[in-house]
């Protein structure tokens, strides 16, 4: 009548081995503590970090202006048993995420210290340099699946260029990351030297949401709630897409590739339709544009999928994917953050095997040349 099953599973009882072979375009590693950076950070800046902390344009040190759902924005099951914050333990990340989900490549996105938004530009540059070195030493060199990005703060353009050149020489970084919230919209000419280098080095530009650039995160002003602020990720990316396209960045840099990370994709069809419509009516205002905005978007921009939209009717998600274009989408999980998307269950709409392969692997492999 009763039975306790406590024996190990036989091989034929185990779930089938995963065949996902995914590229995860958004994996967040974390520092155990600032001490991790000491090996890469000059004494002067170690002392600065210790004594003055971070220089952001938001209140509160080392936290966000809005409480974000869970401690350190993390999945409750992602705290490593060895201690330290979620994302700080490679062995646990491998065991919980990379191995079971069969992640072939994971692209590291470092958000520690909101280093893009540091207002002391020299301090920001020192920290970016340290984090860039730390990504290789602590992550890529220990697990070659994990790919590092060159983090730079674009408001110190000269410092950013130096760091891009330094890192690019190693041949180990797969993209250049800049802030989605800089002092000016990203299409502005002051930032073009970075885009010129990205194109020359054939490194995609990765733009992950987050940080505070000193402006309210929405066009409507400062939000009151986290749930409201969360919407601003999409607003911000929509504004930057328009800025980059209309200011002529893809026209000026025809081989530049730009990846927007965690900004959603449901808003893209409408944004592109509107840009095209207004371009037809007002093209004499922007004669530097030779093609319709939708053509630039189609040739230069990619968008990661998480947090995926969950319309009440699954077929609406299907329509969105078709309108954006299946070739534009790159799977991302956002591990270990609370709004993580599981590649097996996040897409609540049918996709053919060929479509899945594009979103989960070959689109990213083409952009990043894996």
């Amino acid at each position: 009548m009763s039975e306790i099953i406590d024996r190990p599973l036989r091989d034929d009882e185990k779930p089938a081995a995963s065949k996902l072979r995914i590229v995860d375009c958004d994996v967040h590693p974390s520092l155990h503590s600032f001490e991790d950076l000491n090996a890469f950070l000059p004494k002067r800046w170690q002392q600065h970090l210790r004594e003055y902390g971070s220089h952001l344009r938001t209140p509160y040190l080392f936290t966000t202006p809005y409480p974000r759902s869970s401690p350190l924005i993390a999945r409750r099951d992602a705290w490593p048993p060895t201690g330290g914050p979620p994302g700080s333990d490679l062995a646990f990340m491998q065991k919980q995420h990379l191995d079971p989900l069969d992640v072939e490549f994971g692209i590291l996105q470092v958000l520690d210290l909101f280093i893009f938004s540091q207002q002391n530009l020299e301090f920001g540059a020192a920290i970016q340099r340290a984090i860039n070195d730390w990504q290789l030493a602590f992550w890529s060199h220990r697990d070659p699946r994990l790919k590092a990005s060159i983090l730079v703060g674009q408001d110190g353009v000269d410092l950013a260029i130096d760091e891009i050149e330094r890192c690019a020489k190693t041949g180990e970084y797969i993209q250049i990351n800049v802030s989605p919230r800089a002092n000016e919209p990203l299409g502005r000419r002051r930032y073009w030297p970075i885009y010129e280098r990205a194109q020359a080095l054939d490194l995609p530009l990765g733009i992950h949401v987050g940080g505070y650039g000193g402006h309210a995160p929405t066009g409507g002003g400062w939000p009151s709630y986290y749930v409201e602020e969360h919407q601003s990720n999409a607003h911000t990316i929509a504004a930057q897409l328009a800025s980059l396209v209309i200011e002529g960045v893809p026209e000026r840099f025809p081989k530049l590739k730009i990846v927007f990370i965690e900004g959603g994709f449901g808003w893209i069809p409408s944004a592109v339709w509107r840009m095209d419509q207004h371009f037809e009516r007002f093209r004499s205002e922007v004669p530097h544009l030779k093609r319709r905005p939708s053509e630039y978007v189609r040739d230069h921009f990619w968008f990661t999928t998480q947090p995926i939209d969950e319309p009440d009717e699954a077929r609406h998600l299907r329509s969105l994917i078709e309108w954006v274009g299946i070739d534009r989408l790159l799977f991302s999980s956002d591990y270990p953050h609370w709004d993580f998307d599981d590649p097996r269950f996040a897409f609540k709409t049918p996709l053919t095997e060929a479509e899945r392969k594009k979103i989960f692997s070959t689109n990213a492999r083409a952009v990043y040349k894996f």
């Binding site: 009763s2 099953i5 993580f340 996040a346």
Partner: protein
């Protein structure tokens, strides 16, 4: 459905849980205020392991600045996206018509009622006097 003995009551402390595998299913057994609840260890949204869920209370508010906590420890908050469920029946709190976690009946029974052993040991009478346990041997 067959009955499965999955744990002793002392194995699962109040506020804790234990994951057991029953016929290929991972089931998580929670202990809340002396009661036990069993649910499939998988959120119906994206499959998060519910053993890592926060056991929270029902929070209601009659007016701004005033709140009441009830059913402390009986509401599950998924470790990933924070979806909440009623531990007693697996019902989703925010969308009860569409989502539910599979739940299983749980009983607590004394070991001697479940299985009479074939062996009888020599026994000694025990008396409890105040807070001392005294064994007559």
């Amino acid at each position: 459905m067959a009955r499965h003995i999955v744990a002793t009551t002392s194995e699962i402390p109040p506020g804790g849980n234990k994951v057991v595998e029953v016929d290929g299913r991972d089931i998580v057994v929670f202990h809340v205020n002396g009661e036990f609840f069993a649910l499939l260890n998988r959120c119906p949204h994206e499959g998060a392991p519910l053993e890592k869920a926060a056991c929270v209370a029902r929070l209601t508010s009659s007016e701004p600045g005033v709140y009441e906590r009830s059913r402390v420890g009986e509401m599950l908050r998924c470790p990933w996206h924070g979806w909440e469920f009623d531990m007693r029946n697996g019902q989703s709190w925010f969308d009860p018509k569409r989502f539910k976690i599979r739940s299983y009946p749980v009983a607590v029974e004394r070991g001697e009622d479940l299985q009479k052993g074939p062996y009888v040991a020599e026994t000694f009478p025990v008396h409890v006097e105040d807070s001392y346990v005294i064994v007559d041997a």
